[in-house]
Symmetry: C2
Subunit: 321 residues, 2 copies
């Protein structure tokens, strides 16, 4: 499962900052959320079984499910998060639901309490699993952190996925799973057959980093910095585009999404922008079926406040071509 000391440190962190209910025996260290998804799919899903995914949603999650031979059931997301009733109508007997309730990818919606309870109720009644990918919930601006869905779960139906890729850096390749007690043994078996376990050194260093308080300080510091950058982006977009642009999900995380009035061919625009070294993710690429919206995902965490106005003008000039 990984270093015992690191699993203890993560457990303490998740209990206090994410209201996750866990013991160190339930925590498995993995090489990022991609491996977490991969192991989860191998344990929970047989080929041909169905899983709900958010529409629009995270493409790598769909890729893992597809590679496992699963039937993918896209369930729409509205301003309260995943439309559980729609999921039940489309495919009640799904074996699992993959969701990002804290800060939905890509729309940035936070799942409402009512929807969370509705989803847990469905999972409990139908014996389905909920895979909660809590990839960037550490960064929430202007309001208190949202507790995890896992913390509300009374029936051990939630597999919780977290990562240090967003809060520290992706090349670290360290994430973690919180696994219901009665599944730990099966997760460990699959993981052992996959790669034996994670490298030791990073785990030892991360343990100290967490236990000595550096991680909490780092997050507090970065939250202020990213909030500044987020505000610079939101205000700058407002000035340049006004009511022609709608901004989604700017309350948390390291990205927001924008849609524009009128017809935008987001893939073509993103390609043009990339040729000028401006990186926009087209919103349409996050749909599994026909895209309901076009627009862009804009990451703001890596652009300084001073640099932001120039980048926004660049975006505007590309959109006006």
């Amino acid at each position: 499962l990984g270093s015992e000391e690191l699993r203890q440190a993560i457990c303490t962190y998740l209990r206090t900052s994410r209201a996750v209910r866990c013991e160190p025996e339930q925590v498995m260290i993995v090489s990022g959320s991609q491996q977490a998804l991969e192991i989860t799919a191998r344990v929970l899903m047989d080929a041909g079984e169905a899983a709900w995914v958010e529409e629009p949603g995270y493409w790598l999650a769909r890729q893992v499910l597809r590679a496992a031979g699963c039937k993918i059931v896209p369930v729409p997301v509205d301003s309260e998060g995943l439309e559980v009733a729609a999921g039940i109508r489309k495919y009640r007997r799904a074996k699992a639901a993959y969701i990002t309730p804290s800060h939905q990818f890509p729309t940035g919606v936070t799942m409402s309490a009512a929807r969370r309870l509705q989803l847990l109720d469905w999972a409990e009644r139908s014996g389905a699993w909920i895979v909660e990918d809590d990839y960037d919930s550490e960064y929430r601006y202007g309001s208190m952190p949202i507790a995890s869905l896992q913390g509300l779960d009374r029936s051990a139906r939630v597999i919780y996925i977290g990562t240090f890729s967003k809060t520290l850096f992706p090349a670290l390749r360290v994430g973690y799973l919180v696994i219901p007690h009665d599944l730990v043994h099966r997760f460990a078996g699959i993981r052992n057959a996959m790669d034996l376990g994670p490298p030791h050194l990073y785990q030892a260093v991360l343990t100290d980093f967490l236990n000595e308080g550096h991680y909490a300080r780092h997050i507090r510091r970065m939250r202020l910095l990213y909030e500044e950058r987020r505000s610079a982006l939101v205000e700058g977009l407002g000035r340049q585009f006004g009511s022609r642009m709608q901004i989604l999900g700017a309350e948390a995380g390291m990205h927001l999404a924008v849609t524009l009035q009128g017809r935008v061919r987001d893939v073509q625009v993103a390609e043009r922008a990339a040729s000028e070294r401006l990186w926009l993710v087209p919103l349409s690429s996050t749909y599994f079926e026909k895209p309901a919206r076009q627009g862009f995902i804009l990451g703001f965490a890596g652009t300084t406040t001073a640099e932001m106005p120039r980048q926004i003008r660049h975006l505007k000039s590309i959109l006006e071509l």
Copy 2:
């Protein structure tokens, strides 16, 4: 696929020291040979297809194949390595053969040139794949290193697996694959869905370690050290057990195997030894079907020459109980 610089460095190393025929584009960095096997099984094998494995052989390889739903065909190993003719008789249409030709695990046999050509011929004729696990060939005592099987392959049927777990340390979790050109794309696809890629820092450090000659020096130094330890073990066993004990595969690697005259219940002996902190791997546990031999795998690389006589006396006292 991993860091370009590291793939270049590994390529140079494999060409010169293992006679592997490769370009950096064929090298993929993985988290050890277990992940290499896992990716290989996912790319090459569909559920229900058959793979030859060595009997006796490496249990983790069988575990990966079983997890992939494959039919496992144990093929006996004699003093020339895998009995290719027996494999063809048992299951000619197998999709792949998993082998350790440089230093067979656990018997330590080096596969003969005739058998290598016979195996390559079978693979070419029947369109099968050969998975060559070259896990500890760097350490060969008393004779020149044996070239890889991959270097003999003219039909791109061999997937070559190497690791730094034996030459450096397992907690590093770094290994590599050399993949035939026309399979690289499929290997990359599976790998990307599994964990995106390896952590960067170790790769950067390993690149320098290889390019600046430290790795080659380390291996030369350790080869002398391990040879000393190996000789201390072989001589000590000879003194204590004489002709009652047969020693197998002591010409290379970090372990050898022993069998004893008379009836030995190796699992029970190994359990008793473990309770006294002496670690013997029972030979019978490396068989897929009914064990043809009982005995022990003894690792010698981690025991100093000075410590060896005491450990051998300890082994003798346990065997005499």
